[in-house]
């Protein structure tokens, strides 16, 4: 069990979905891959297909249209899959809360593993969020062992 979590956390392949973001968060995610931050040294890669993904990164406040796609995408992903909400938009719907195309919060639709607040979050914050996710996985595993 411990080995499994260790392997999973050492090679996280990330699929990135923009559920109606203002594009700022997406740019910050790409920043994580640049030479300055270089998350490939932790084994993290951006992949193009949800079938290869271990982490589903969601940016943007969901509206009625993207919620369907999001749910569909989550069901298409091979389990175990972890969901990270990047930016304040998916965390709390930001200033779009209560406006007419909004449906509900992200975690009422699919389970969310880690929240990364910020508008947009800095690349450091995103890396810290991923580290939080890794810590959470290994901590869960420790509890399971006892």
């Amino acid at each position: 069990m411990k080995l499994k979590e260790k392997i999973l956390t050492k090679s996280l392949w990330v699929y990135h979905l923009s559920a109606g973001s203002c594009n700022n968060c997406d740019i910050e995610i790409l920043d994580c891959l640049t030479p300055r931050f270089d998350i490939e040294r932790f084994g993290i890669q951006l992949v193009g297909s949800i079938r290869h993904a271990d982490v589903l990164l969601i940016t943007g406040a969901m509206n009625k249209k993207s919620a369907k796609i999001l749910k569909n995408l989550y069901e298409q992903a091979p389990k175990p899959i972890f969901v990270a909400a990047v930016g304040i938009c998916p965390c709390s719907q930001n200033m779009f809360k209560g406006s007419y195309p909004m449906l509900s919060a992200l975690d009422e639709i699919i389970p969310v593993d880690v929240y990364i607040p910020g508008c947009p979050p800095r690349p450091e914050a995103i890396i810290a969020g991923i580290a939080k996710l890794i810590n959470k996985l290994t901590a869960k595993d420790k509890k399971g062992q006892k």
């Binding site: 499994k4 392997i7 999973l8 079938r51 290869h52 175990p80």
Partner: protein, 309 residues
Amino acid sequence: MLKIVTQYLIFPGIIFSFFVGAMGFWLERKFTARFQYRVGPPWYQNFIDVMKLFLKETIIPRNAAKTLFITSPIINLAAVILVSVMLANNYFLNISFMGDVIVILYLLVIPSLFTILGALSSKNPLALVGAARETKLMLAYEFVFITSLIIAIIKSGNSIMLANITATQILSKPNIASASGIIAFILALFYAQAKLCIVPFDMAEAEQEIMAGTVIEYSGPLLGFYKISKLMLYFSLPLFIISLFIKVHTQSTLLKYLIFFCLYILIIFIMSVIKNINPRMRIKDALGFFWFWLLPLGILGIVLAQFGL
């Protein structure tokens, strides 16, 4: 009996070739990272990636042709394992049989063929685009590689046995030390580049346009099989090039391995240089490059080889 088992399973068989291939792919990633002033992944990254894929769930699309979808990665891997074991046994232990060059040529077509079939069976439109591109690319590079192989065969006195090709190089001089040999080496390098889907020729798996293309619907262990076969190709194609063109003879075993690893790293380095200074070609440009530039070069090489140059 035990000797044969270790010979095929461990050294220089499956496990050795997988290990070296994974290290080769890591080197390629590391070189790329260094070209971009990045740190790059740790050396064990590819092993972890493969292991992780075997821990994940496999999803089979509802519309897919199930049997073909499941068997094609497995056949792919089987063909690659055969090629790697044959090549490694020839290079390190000098085991060979009549006509094995032709067998290897056929076996090397199988991975691309079954990648295409697997993509077609998944019925994903992006996978279809990837499969169409891979088909066209195959038409381009296979023919070029055959000309390069013909040059090596002519140089060895028309022998289609890998051991004879290496033996002639040991007796006289490596093939690459002649004009036609250099041409054949260049052609084979471009072939390896296209076969491994490295950047100027990676239209079939273009991450940014068609989302991993041919393997888009694969997940979990089935994707793991593809990954392993790609890693093993990273070992066997450079090894094939080395044994065809740059076989150097030495008495001591240590020096033999040292030379192999130096040449291997050199070939991986050249490939990653080509990768990092080129953008992805369009399929039309790639076809033109292979047919109108490399193919005439190959024919010139054959003519030169006939005159013993």
